[in-house]
Symmetry: C2
Subunit: 251 residues, 2 copies
């Protein structure tokens, strides 16, 4: 297998609406023909749904801190409460935006919580409890049904520092090298490479989003052509991606 | 044209080594069959080469500030001089890393300057002077030769705040919507969408990188399937992507 070549991104159509307890891996295998070495990219929203990570705002009792932020940011205190409960640290609370580090270590707006494509008003989805575990489970489901070795990424749309717009990134990953380490390798002339740790899982997430339709959902795409990054074991997962706090210059 | 569907990323092989004055658009049309609506993704390195944006370190005379940073960061003062000359502001200078805002407004390490895949040792490539203008020029070259309307992005590998690894982003863009604006649109149930400004050009850049080989270069890929984002006019370019300083929470 070469380290480069043609890539295809195929949206998976015809998936049902998902609800708590559904087995995503089986549904994906029913809707799509999965090939050995495919990377299956799944929007966190449907993973959260099948894992019962939905919350009704009417059931949420905001702490005092959440009420204070809600006033400051002109937001619903119950949403703020959920964000605080899912966060390990608050980075910025300005102009209506709450940027935190989630318990998983991801820095994003609103701890990844949002209310679009939910089964009812006043219902929001939290990120999966452990998106790497979700990816491993779905990988095993696909393996069991097809006998094929695939990579699985759980993806979400994150804003970025310094650049406007959201890009899809990997928040969970199994069977795919999340970061391709080129440190110590050199160019054709033997000089060090500038890019040395390639964010494969995040780039695959971004690619997967290009084939999606935000309105209808299209929560699953297949990224084909990355089998050289698909591994026999589950690997370190997206837990390898957050920069350690001690090394981060922008916390 | 639908707003989603199958995407292909095709590496362009058989390109020559480029040098100052080469016409990239013609070389790309010789090496690849370009289709209407394709997005042609070009690594900044070859754009810098044809535009004569290479510098010999032996020709660089570092200012005092560059010498001070060089000692502090244990770096070559001539490289630091080039970085300072290409930057509008210094954001961080720590642990060997100099993160600045370039004159174009991009936040990245070393003002995007690096020495890999260069024609000789002690030679480095600066980013193109105006990567949007580069993209427009190459787009016109392809248009003239093929009669086809394409999008062009000039891409570079940038590190990210909070996440380790580099991802390819767009630093120049022509004929492609850099940001797909979904603000005000709603999900199937009429609720606001969480992701409202989709970083199409950056996601296309990330996708393009998956088909590349860092060692051999493979500096050009074609992203096929985004014709619904390819525009008749050149559009705002990647200049639309840097977050305005006044709105950035992480400068």
């Amino acid at each position: 297998v070469t380290s480069h070549g043609r890539i295809e991104v195929l949206p998976v159509t015809g998936l049902p609406e998902f609800t708590t307890g559904d087995v995503l891996g089986i549904a994906i295998c029913r809707a799509a023909r999965i090939a050995e070495g495919d990377v299956v990219a799944i929007s966190q929203k449907v993973v959260s749904k099948v894992e019962g990570r939905l919350r009704r705002l009417e059931d949420v009792d905001p702490r005092d801190e959440a009420r204070r932020f809600a006033v400051e940011l002109d937001r619903d205190p119950r949403q703020i409460e959920l964000i605080l409960a899912e966060s390990a640290a608050i980075l910025r609370a300005e102009r209506g935006t709450l940027i935190t580090r989630t318990r998983h270590g991801f820095v994003c707006a609103n701890a990844g919580i949002d209310g679009s494509n939910m089964p009812g008003p006043g219902v929001v989805a939290l990120l999966p409890e452990d998106p790497d575990a979700s990816a491993r489970r779905i990988r095993a489901e696909i393996r069991e049904r097809t006998g094929r070795k695939v990579g699985v990424i759980v993806t979400d749309s994150f804003g970025r520092a310094w650049r406007v717009g959201q890009s899809e990134v990997a928040i969970g990953c199994a069977g795919l090298t999340p970061l391709d380490d080129w440190r110590g390798r050199t160019d054709a002339a033997g000089r060090p490479l500038a890019a040395t740790l390639i964010a494969i899982a995040d780039q695959a997430a971004a690619a997967s989003d290009l084939a999606r339709d935000k309105t209808s959902g299209t929560p699953v795409s297949i990224v084909r052509g990355l089998s050289h990054h698909v591994t026999a074991d589950d690997g370190p997962g997206a837990a390898a991606i957050p920069r350690p706090e001690s090394e981060d210059l922008f916390l």
